[in-house]
């Protein structure tokens, strides 16, 4: 048997064996067998070596007289000429048919015609029609087998695709749930969800909208998205409202397309089909702790996709997938909100605590918050040239906020004394870093800010207190908060002196470089838009001091500083 490489590649092993066996059987009956494609190329021949067949001219006849395009599932054998018969052969479900040919070497006559011609008593009629039936049956059987095989192949392929798709989804959901642990921001996590989802479900666009309440007005914020879809405000609102309506009616998803019926809703022109699933969450903590307990789920946002590319519409598998991804996203957003609320509550409480200490002395009002702000300002600029992680920067902010917490343990008479302090009183005040460190030592989460609180009055030349450390022993947080503390003290009025203006303060810091202040920290502070910082601080001061009533001050200062 001769076989071209091109056909061998397209055949499965069983198909190959089958064709070979078939060819040999035909040969045994004294006939020749061949397979060609619809372009007329001879791909396979099995010769019985009794006579030669001029295959190419047979094939040409065959292609000329039979419509090869309409042969989808035609499995009936047909005669090509008086000794050759053929059948269309489906080798592959998505490839065009091939043609299997048998040259019987003898005159053939179909059974029907034989009856008509019986009267003429053709000498080979009986044998010819018998042969015709045998070969016709054989070819038809062959075609049937290949057809059913290609059908089951097609089914197997369909299942296979579904399995790989399911596996793809599994990997996606796994990825989403593992990444939830890592503290990424809402938008980057949701973006990842959109991107991943779009890779396994081909759509023109995917978006995630989150509901934000600003000034009692609902706002839908496009938090993440993938693909190219134009979403304007009206469309956003419509999506949200219609989804809410559908859910009200007991559905779990909004599906709309023009495939089976006209659109249920009036979408923009470019929408062909659309899916939207809700993100559920509880009301955020900021509306009141007691309220949030036992609250029912409400829709905090939605995930929507438009215009399925490779299918006419979204199916139930898509719905399931979108729902699980949306659930993951909702949990993430919700956790983020709760975390944010807790953080706000935490910082707010600290601010309230420190400002109540500052408020003991009218000259130090708002001091801690300003120092915290300035410390963070310096740390952010320090991080531009040196490696400084986000948690470290946050700790520097907290150190700034809590650096004077130890003053809570200092006698108010000493703290607010208007005259000159005695040595004893000075010693008393100088204990505040140590007292502060001791207070914080009791809180596990504050461990990292203790060194800064303890060292914010140390000097590079070792003349500071309480330990008299020198430059290399003082932690960075101590250096930064120390500078911020001094700067704020210089620029605030004291009982015994007026506040320095900015130029004077800059001069003072320059003078103290290397002795009182760390050179690098001070340089970074002075060289980075300090005038801008000054403006911000003065604005903040104006606000903080606008409220004359002391009782107000403690509450008002929380959050008033940086707008």
């Amino acid at each position: 048997m001769k076989m071209l490489k091109t056909i061998e590649k397209n055949l499965s092993k069983t198909q190959k064996v089958e064709l070979e066996t078939f060819g040999r059987t035909i040969n045994k009956m004294g006939a020749n067998f061949a397979v060609c494609d619809v372009q007329g190329r001879l791909l396979l021949t099995c010769q019985a070596n009794i006579y030669e067949t001029e295959w190419q001219s047979v094939i040409n006849d065959c292609l000329k007289n039979f419509d090869v395009d309409s042969t989808g599932e035609d499995k009936q054998a047909f005669p090509v000429n008086d000794r050759v018969m053929a059948v269309f052969l489906k080798l592959n479900h998505n490839a065009p048919a091939h043609i299997a040919l048998i040259d019987t070497g003898k005159y053939l006559q179909p059974a029907k015609e034989q009856q008509q011609e019986q009267n003429r008593e053709h000498i080979t009629a009986g044998q010819g029609s018998q042969l015709y039936e045998i070969f016709s049956d054989l070819l038809t059987l062959l075609a049937e087998r290949f057809l059913s095989e290609s059908k089951s192949e097609q089914q197997a392929l369909m299942f296979s695709n579904e399995i790989t798709q399911a596996y793809e989804e599994l990997a996606l959901i796994h990825k989403l749930s593992t990444n939830m642990r890592i503290g990424s921001s809402d938008s980057s996590y949701l973006q990842m969800a959109c991107d991943c989802l779009r890779e396994i479900v081909s759509v023109e666009g995917i978006v995630i909208l989150l509901e934000k309440k600003a000034d009692d007005e609902r706002q839908l914020v496009l938090t993440a998205g993938a693909g190219l879809i134009d979403i304007d405000k009206k469309f956003k609102e419509m999506l949200f409202d219609k989804l809410a309506e559908e859910i009200e009616m007991g559905k779990e998803v909004l599906l709309d397309s023009e495939v089976h019926a006209p659109f249920k809703y009036d979408w923009p022109d470019y929408i062909k089909n659309i899916i939207a699933v809700p993100l559920y969450g509880k009301e955020s903590l900021s509306t009141g702790i007691s309220q949030s307990v036992g609250n029912d789920n409400c829709i905090i946002g939605l995930m929507a996709a438009m215009n399925r590319i490779d299918k006419p519409d979204f199916d139930s598998i898509d719905v399931k997938l979108f729902n699980s991804v949306a659930n993951g996203c909702a949990v993430f957003v919700e956790n983020g909100r709760l975390f944010g609320d807790l953080k706000e509550l935490f910082i707010g409480s600290l601010k309230a605590l420190t400002s109540s200490i500052d408020a003991k002395d009218q000259y130090t009002r708002g001091h801690s918050e300003r120092v915290a702000f300035i410390s963070q300002w310096i740390a952010e600029r320090y991080a531009e040239s040196e490696q400084l992680d986000e948690p470290v920067m946050h700790n520097i902010y907290l150190t700034g906020l809590l650096h004077d917490i130890g003053k809570i343990g200092i006698n108010e008479r000493v703290l607010c004394k208007k005259g000159k302090l005695t040595n004893e009183e000075l010693d008393c005040i100088r204990r505040h870093p140590l007292i502060g460190a001791n207070i914080l030592r009791g809180i596990k989460q504050m461990r990292d800010i203790i060194p800064g609180v303890l060292c914010h009055h140390e000097r590079m030349d070792g003349k500071g207190y309480p330990q008299g450390l020198t430059a290399d022993k003082i932690p960075l947080s101590g250096k930064i908060v120390g500078l911020a503390d001094s700067f704020d003290a210089m620029t605030s009025a004291r009982v015994y002196r007026k506040a320095l203006n900015l130029e004077e303060a800059i001069e003072e810091i320059k003078k103290g470089m290397g002795t009182q202040f760390d050179e690098k920290v001070a340089t970074i502070f002075l060289n980075n838009d300090i005038y801008h910082l000054w403006d911000i601080i003065r604005d903040g001061l104006a606000d903080a001091f606008s409220e004359k009533e002391f009782s107000y001050y403690g509450n008002e200062s929380v959050g008033t500083f940086v707008k």
């Binding site: 695709n161 790989t164 596996y167 593992t178």
Partner: protein, 128 residues
């Protein structure tokens, strides 16, 4: 270009199926094995262009397999992608030492695996 052949090794038959389906539908020839020993024999007889192997397997695990492959002149340069459980990570040093091209945690995305395979084979064809 001649057909690219990939040997897929895993004792979990569904993983082998999923990988094989994805690869076959993208024009690869796929040979499969369910443990390291069987895979080693196939690697020698079939000369695959790349091997995707699980790490934990009975009889001979993924590590043993790669060690053996690297000792054989005929198979020492075949790129290997190792599939691992998420909780288990292969140390960079070992990865380097055994010349493992890529480690992929389960459950992995078949699409991602396919892309990695294409990349590695492309690199290989460029460097040759």
């Amino acid at each position: 270009m001649s057909e690219r052949k990939v040997l897929v090794v895993d004792d979990e038959i569904h993983i082998v199926h999923v990988v094989a389906i994805k690869l076959r539908s993208n024009g690869f020839e796929v040979v499969t094995a369910s443990n390291g020993a069987q895979a080693y024999e196939l690697a020698c007889s079939e000369n695959p262009d790349l091997i995707v192997t699980d790490f934990q397997m009975p009889v001979m695990d993924g590590f043993e397999l790669v060690k053996k492959l690297r000792q054989n002149e005929q198979t020492k340069d075949i790129p290997v992608i190792m599939l691992t459980a998420r909780s288990f990570s292969i140390e960079a040093e070992q990865k380097e030492q055994l010349n493992i091209s890529e480690c992929l945690g389960k459950p992995f995305s078949p699409r991602e695996l396919l892309k990695k395979i294409e990349d590695i084979l492309y690199q290989k064809s460029v460097t040759n």
